[in-house]
């Protein structure tokens, strides 16, 4: 995925200014920056989730396999099928575990029962949930622990087989053990998926990502491979942020 000169506005306020960014396939890219820097807004622009907010406008190009997702005649529904999203607060549907994962398949029109069941199993395995939950598939998803709910949301996203998975602070509501499991999962998922994760924790970015983008006040200050950015940042702002002088 590439973005070219992307601006995002909320009404008259500009939240994101001219961001050019290349996201590489089958890597984990982390967006870091202080609260309110626009990293989540930018993430939500990538799969047109911002379309649901009336006053939000996006300018510039966001290219997925060379096609602009904001181009004329592009269906945002199609974009979201290819670019899935996991949210800050786990948000399972008040249905069974099985139906949560099957939701994306059913709305895409998959009817064959065996096919659905197979995909659900595959997705739960992909999210490292199968062994824990295979005997509880008919139970309500709301009975799961926070960490399990969040991994269920990941499984639900995997079921649609997107190319890119966007994660908006997926572990901010979880305890350290649940967080560690999700981070471990990210390392496995990047074998097959392109992952973009917004995080408020620099340690997390350093642990899981291959590339890191530092945002500040709606601008992309620095972008590069994670190790370089954290050890030898080229911008003064980045250095100040990662050494904890502000933010």
């Amino acid at each position: 995925m590439q973005t070219r000169g992307v601006d995002v506005f909320y009404g008259d306020a500009q939240a994101i200014k001219a961001v050019d960014l290349d996201i590489y396939a089958r890597t984990v890219t982390a967006f870091i920056g202080p609260s309110g820097c626009g990293k989540s807004t930018f993430l939500r622009a990538l799969n047109r989730m911002n379309d649901t907010i009336e006053i939000c406008r996006v300018k510039g190009e966001i290219l997925l396999d060379g096609y602009n997702v904001y181009g004329k005649g592009v269906d945002p529904v199609e974009v979201r099928r290819r670019v899935g999203m996991v949210f800050q607060k786990s948000n399972p549907f008040p249905k069974s575990i099985f139906e949560n994962v099957a939701f994306g398949l059913r709305i895409a029109g998959m009817k064959d029962k065996n096919e659905v069941a197979q995909r659900v199993e595959e997705s739960l395995k992909g999210a490292a949930l199968w062994d824990e939950l295979k005997d509880r598939l008919e139970e309500s998803a709301l009975g799961l622990s926070g960490g399990q709910q969040q991994r269920l949301c990941i499984a639900r996203t995997l079921a649609v087989r997107p190319d890119v998975i966007l994660m908006d602070e997926p572990t901010s509501a979880l305890d350290p053990i649940a967080t560690a499991r999700i981070e471990e999962l990210l390392r496995e998922l990047k074998q097959e998926y392109t992952i973009v994760i917004v995080t408020h924790s620099m340690q997390q970015a350093a642990r899981v990502s291959d590339y890191t983008a530092f945002f500040y006040m709606g601008e992309l200050i620095e972008y590069g491979d994670t190790e370089t950015l954290f050890t030898r940042p080229s911008q003064k702002k980045t250095e100040e942020y990662i050494t904890g002088r502000f933010g």
Partner: protein, 299 residues
């Protein structure tokens, strides 16, 4: 907890207010049950009234009330739910149209019910019915559609209950968390799929509660149907949408004021009130059960 003097005063005042309300309700219900219960019998529930309305049963009124309530629900509820879905899920929050509809709905809710009756007479009976008659049968013939009937009464009450349905449905839809909508959209659902598969199923308890409360209010209304279809005395059951019908509420009014012998009609009167109350109370009770059930499953 320790009460100060002011607390005692306030607790005393509010407690007294509570007791007054409870006592009023108890006396009211007690009177009705005491005078009405002896009248209730299989014959009373299944028979037709006698010509002077002092005896006989009230089956035509029960049947008419239920029939009218069903028609009213069929006509009003889908429109109300659809309007609420449009207002919360589709209309832009800045849309003039949506704002106008909301203002209209709120004003509609404040209109006295007798005015709905006049509206029903003017619009449904005379305008819609009358126009149908001239179109089908030509000028100056005896009215077929253009006279009071169960159809027009049901439609009038449907309009009356519309604001309640719309407001409660909107409320129920708004209670569905934004996160669930986003989850659905992020999985590639269209807006319609999100409404149909996520929002409506999660709001169904609230919507049903609202619908039942609206229906129970409509079932007990008398004023609007005086002009548009309720009959004073009709020993047979309505078989056609264009027939007039008897109604429990209206029957009470008729027994109390129009009967040739009001004193002789009193037992029938109380019996009828008891049946009407039982009907509307059971609807309310159903609403309470549904509400508590959906609350229990949502946590």
């Amino acid at each position: 907890m320790n009460y100060t003097r002011k607390d005692w005063l306030l607790a005393g005042l509010s407690g007294t207010a509570l007791l007054i309300i409870l006592a009023l309700l108890a006396v009211l219900l007690g009177q009705i049950v005491m005078h009405g219960a002896p009248t209730i019998s299989g014959e009373f529930l299944s028979g037709s009234p006698t010509a002077d309305m002092t005896g006989g049963g009230i089956w035509p009124a029960i049947y008419g009330t239920v029939f009218m309530t069903l028609l009213m629900t069929l006509a009003g509820v889908p429109v109300g739910i659809a309007t609420a879905v449009y207002l919360t899920e589709y209309a832009s929050s800045r849309s003039r149209m949506a704002q106008l509809v909301r203002v209209a709905v709120n004003n509609l809710a404040g209109v006295p019910s007798i005015v709905f009756g006049l509206f029903g007479l003017g619009f449904f009976v005379l305008f819609v019915g009358g126009t149908l008659d001239t179109m089908v049968y030509g000028e100056g013939t005896a009215p077929v559609w253009g006279k009071p009937s169960i159809l027009w009464a049901s439609l009038t009450l449907a309009v009356l209950t519309l604001p309640v349905v719309i407001v409660t449905t909107e409320e129920a839809l708004r209670q569905v968390p934004k996160e669930l909508r986003e989850a659905s959209l992020a999985l590639g659902a269209t807006r319609f799929q999100t409404v149909y598969k996520v929002v409506l199923p999660n709001a169904v308890g609230g919507i049903l509660t609202g619908v039942i409360l609206a229906v129970s209010r409509g079932a007990g209304e008398v004023a609007p149907i005086i002009f548009v279809g309720a009959a004073n005395f009709l020993p047979y059951l309505p078989t056609d949408l264009r027939d007039m019908f008897m109604h429990l509420g209206y029957h009470v009014y008729a027994l109390a004021t129009q009967s040739p012998n009001v004193d002789a009609a009193r037992p029938t009167l109380f019996g009828t009130v008891l049946v009407l109350l039982t009907l509307t109370f059971s609807l309310n009770f159903l609403a309470i059960i549904i509400r508590s059930r959906t609350r229990a499953t949502r946590t």
